[in-house]
């Protein structure tokens, strides 16, 4: 790994976890690993093919740019040097869910803005040469498996008569808890 000093190794490790989770959720709809019977109102996948195809994570030094969907600009910027996360999305409902997940799971302080969510509080572990705290970064990348097709999942959920907004939001959080349990590392 000596030739990888140009990019933060903790970001790389966390990114590879995100890649593994998204790939497995896409390949087998998550079905063999997750109990989704109560989470999928229709026989729909967690991600649409259209949203999964453009996913990409690009790490340069202490910065990462994660493309999380197919809409232009649907991305997340992670700036480790500033301890900052910027999630870009125009869907208000998704932004609210992402704010909650980021605050609860990544332990950062977030604000919902017009075009996304802005968070502060990425840490570094004292005594380690590289920026970043690996468990927190893994938690962040685990959360970043969620926004892909979240708007579609929300739409499907809300179309069903009797499903309240609160219920559909809770479903997303339940889905995340299953992902967290299935992919601790």
């Amino acid at each position: 790994m000596a030739d990888q000093v140009a990019s933060n190794p903790k970001l790389i490790e966390a990114c590879l976890l995100w890649d593994k989770i998204t790939r497995e959720l896409q390949e087998d709809f998550g079905a063999p690993r997750l109990n989704l019977s109560d989470l999928r109102p229709r026989d729909s996948a967690i991600y649409s093919d259209r949203d999964y195809a453009p996913l990409a994570c690009r790490i340069d030094g202490d910065k990462a740019e994660v493309t999380v969907g197919s809409s232009p600009g649907h991305a997340t910027h992670i700036l480790l040097d500033r301890g900052n996360i910027r999630y870009y999305d125009t869907d208000r409902a998704v932004n609210e869910i992402m704010k909650d997940l980021l605050e609860e799971e990544v332990n950062v302080k977030c604000t919902v803005l017009e075009g996304g969510v802005d968070c502060e509080g990425l840490k570094s572990k004292v005594g380690e040469p590289q920026r970043g705290y690996l468990p927190q970064l893994k938690a962040l990348f685990r959360v970043l498996t969620m926004p892909t097709s979240m708007d579609l999942r929300q739409e499907f959920c809300r179309e069903i008569v009797g499903n309240t907004e609160e219920y559909c939001v809770k479903r997303e959080k339940d889905l995340f808890q299953q992902i967290k349990k299935t992919y601790p590392e």
Binding site: L16, D19, L55, A56, C57, R58, I59, D60, G61
Partner: protein, 179 residues
């Protein structure tokens, strides 16, 4: 059995970044030589342009994989210019017309003409200067001039490729800079 597209053959034969970069540089050199030989019948220029098209698509795809979408547009446009230039070369070879007399005008090659214009617009946006040298500068504009310009723009795309792709490592959907 259906023949594999040329870019797939290239990808299979030239697997590593280094091998591909060498191949692309050889093609660039070949382009310069062809453009220089103005009095020659454009023998195998069509095949050459198809190779430029295929290799530009490889550069485009690898740049896109690194999320360098803007940079990827240059080889993408070069591949389109080469695609539209190949039949012109084929026609002049078949009719035994030397490169210097194989004249290209906006009237006889409207799409090709506007693609060259587009590649220059893009180049101005990316590197603040046109990537062609002869288009709009020489009269008449012929296959020799076109080969010169295609090669010059291909060179710019290759610069993006060498500067970026060789410095990045990729695994799944993650890529990271290593140099």
């Amino acid at each position: 059995m259906a023949e594999l597209p040329l870019e797939d053959v290239m990808k299979t034969t030239f697997k590593t970044f280094k091998e591909r970069e060498l191949l692309f540089r050889d093609l660039e050199e070949m382009g310069r030589e062809k453009a220089y030989e103005r009095d020659t019948i454009p023998k195998s220029d069509k095949v050459f342009l198809e190779k430029i098209m295929a290799s530009s698509r490889i550069m485009r795809d690898e740049l896109r994989e690194l999320n360098l979408k803007k940079e990827a547009r240059l080889p993408n446009y070069v591949s389109m210019v080469a695609e539209y230039a190949a039949p012109v070369a084929d026609h002049c070879e078949g009719a035994n017309i030397p490169r210097k007399d194989c004249v290209i005008t906006p009237q006889n090659q409207g799409v090709l003409w506007s693609l060259i214009e587009d590649v220059n617009t893009l180049s101005l946006e990316l590197i603040k200067r046109k990537c062609t040298f002869l288009w709009g500068e020489v009269e008449p504009y012929n296959l020799s001039s076109l080969l010169n310009d295609v090669t010059a723009c291909y060179h710019r795309g290759l610069e993006f490729y060498s500067d970026n792709v060789g410095k990045w490592q990729k695994e799944g959907k993650c890529s990271w800079r290593i140099k």
